[in-house]
């Protein structure tokens, strides 16, 4: 069940310079875990030592911030898009 994941520039070194990749999973956490299986090193960039998503990473599912959905448990299905956006970049793209 492929989910499209948009990867920010600083992480594209890990994804073979690709800004959009496919990953699988039933919720955000599973998709990000699958991303690590495919592209080693992604996880430590997204999560701190305690396993919490880093504060200056925003994750959007179909342009909605997951903090206002069900966080990493937010369900995803085929056709959904997950965007990984550095918070410092400012407001989300309209």
């Amino acid at each position: 069940m492929p989910i499209l994941v948009r990867v920010p520039t600083p992480l594209q070194k890990l994804t073979g310079n690709r800004g959009e990749v496919n990953a699988s999973g039933n919720n955000v956490k599973e998709v990000l875990a699958n991303l690590e299986e495919q592209y080693k090193g992604v996880r430590e960039r997204l999560y701190d030592e305690s396993g919490t998503l880093r504060r200056f990473i925003n994750i959007y599912v179909n342009d909605e911030d997951i903090r206002f959905l069900q966080g990493e448990s937010t369900k995803v299905k085929e056709g959904d898009e997950i965007s990984i956006v550095p918070a410092i970049a400012g407001g989300k793209r309209a």
Binding site: R45, D65, I88, G90, R93
Partner: protein, 412 residues
């Protein structure tokens, strides 16, 4: 010479060289300047500061330049005013106004950050500066770029006050109005910054730029007779100023220039754009972005870059956050003008309105030393009060015409 050792990520602590960087490439946290406080301690004292220029550059060792500043030499050291008449209305016996309405040259606190940023841009050999702005920063970047002889590109939401548009264009800049809110302007500028070799003062060289705001806090402490106040009420947009004033007091204490800091830092926002104060009230440590809708356009940032640290500053210091509606903002602009003779912009009305709420809530006590951060000039936001200040009385140029109207009556 300067006292900057390098840059460091506020989140993961990774160190970076002194370069135009602003985001940690590992964890995406914001970078901040690391100073050599041991060396600074050797060259900086109350006496050396007092002998310095009557500008923000009296604190130069605590600012992130390698050489002497090259633009904005007259910025800062604005008046700290004991507000007796306003204090009486508010029930406060030790109320002060830090008045950056009269900051040189563009009449807002932004001249502080821009003087540092443009001087730093020159040190980094940029020939072009740029910014995303709600207006005051636009005025200041355009002015300082003109003084420095640098090219400038300035990006604003298209609907800001006409005075701020004219007060930017006059300096001969390239001004781009974006059909959108500030957060969309800022997002676009991040993308532009990645594609053009310009010093975006509040993006590309943000760590350097931000530290200019510390001088607002240094001046308050020095002007109070080398002590930090009990309270500072600060208008919050991106949350940079509020974190830097807190940093300034703590640096002064660390350097032994003032005693222990017991200041409570309070955040002030407009009800139509209150992501930071709402988070504080709801005891959250993260921001829920909002779409701004307020007359206080200079602080209408719905997704503040430093919002997390703004909240943290307020909590660490034991302060609070409040917000006020647009009609209260206008009322408070008039109150400040009519008690102290100071015409502040809308953000000043926000600060005063919030201070009044904090007094009513008992968070600020009558004898507490309280400073209101008044950060911009009311002449730039006249639209906000135009319908609320009346109009001149028109008469013919004859004494009798005046007598007919005013004999036996008192003026205001």
């Amino acid at each position: 010479m300067g006292y900057v050792l390098g840059l460091q990520c506020r989140e993961c602590g990774r160190q970076y060289p002194k370069e135009p960087l602003h985001v940690c490439e590992f964890c995406f946290g914001p970078l901040e300047i690391v100073y050599d406080y041991e060396q600074i301690r050797r060259v900086l004292s109350r006496e050396t500061i007092a002998r310095g220029p009557r500008s923000m550059w009296r604190y130069q060792p605590l600012l992130p330049l390698d050489g002497d500043p090259t633009v904005g030499l007259q910025v800062g050291f604005t008046p700290l005013i004991k507000a007796k008449r306003l204090g009486k209305v508010m029930g406060l016996n030790n109320l002060y106004i830090k008045n950056d309405c009269v900051n040189h040259p563009t009449l807002s606190f932004k001249d502080r950050v821009v003087a540092v940023a443009v001087s730093k841009a020159k040190e980094f050999n940029y020939d072009t500066v740029a910014c995303a702005s709600t207006g005051n920063l636009a005025n200041s970047v355009a002015a300082h770029a003109a003084e420095a002889g640098l090219k400038s590109y300035i990006f604003i939401p298209a609907d800001i006050e006409m005075t701020k548009v004219v007060g930017t264009l006059i300096y001969g800049t390239t001004l781009v109005g974006i059909r959108g809110v500030y957060d969309e302007v800022n997002r676009l500028c991040s993308e532009i910054a990645a594609n053009f070799p310009w010093a975006f003062v509040n993006i590309t060289i943000r760590p350097f730029y931000g530290d200019g705001s510390k001088t607002f806090g240094y001046e308050i402490a020095e002007q109070l007779g080398w002590k930090a106040p009990d309270h500072v009420v600060i208008p919050v947009a991106g949350s940079s100023l509020i974190t830097k004033v807190w940093k300034a007091f703590n640096e002064f204490a660390h350097l032994g220039l003032i005693d222990e800091v017991k200041t409570k830092i309070h955040a002030a926002q407009a009800s139509g754009c209150a992501p930071v104060t709402t988070a504080i009230k709801e005891n959250r440590d993260f921001i829920k972005p909002v779409i701004p809708n307020t007359i206080a356009k200079s602080i209408a940032i719905g997704n503040p870059a430093d919002g997390y640290y703004g909240i943290k500053t307020v909590k660490e210091s034991g302060g609070y956050g409040e917000d006020v509606a647009d009609d209260e903002i206008v009322e408070c602009m008039k109150l400040l003008a009519q008690t102290e003779g100071i015409f502040a912009e809308t953000a000043g009305g926000v600060t005063l309105g919030v201070a009044r709420k904090l007094v009513a809530q008992g968070r600020i006590q009558p004898d507490d030393v309280t400073v209101l951060a008044i950060t911009g000039n009311g002449l730039k936001t006249q639209e906000a009060v135009m319908g609320d200040v009346g109009s001149p009385i028109l008469i013919d140029p004859r004494l009798s015409a005046f007598q007919d109207l005013f004999n036996g009556k008192e003026g205001k």
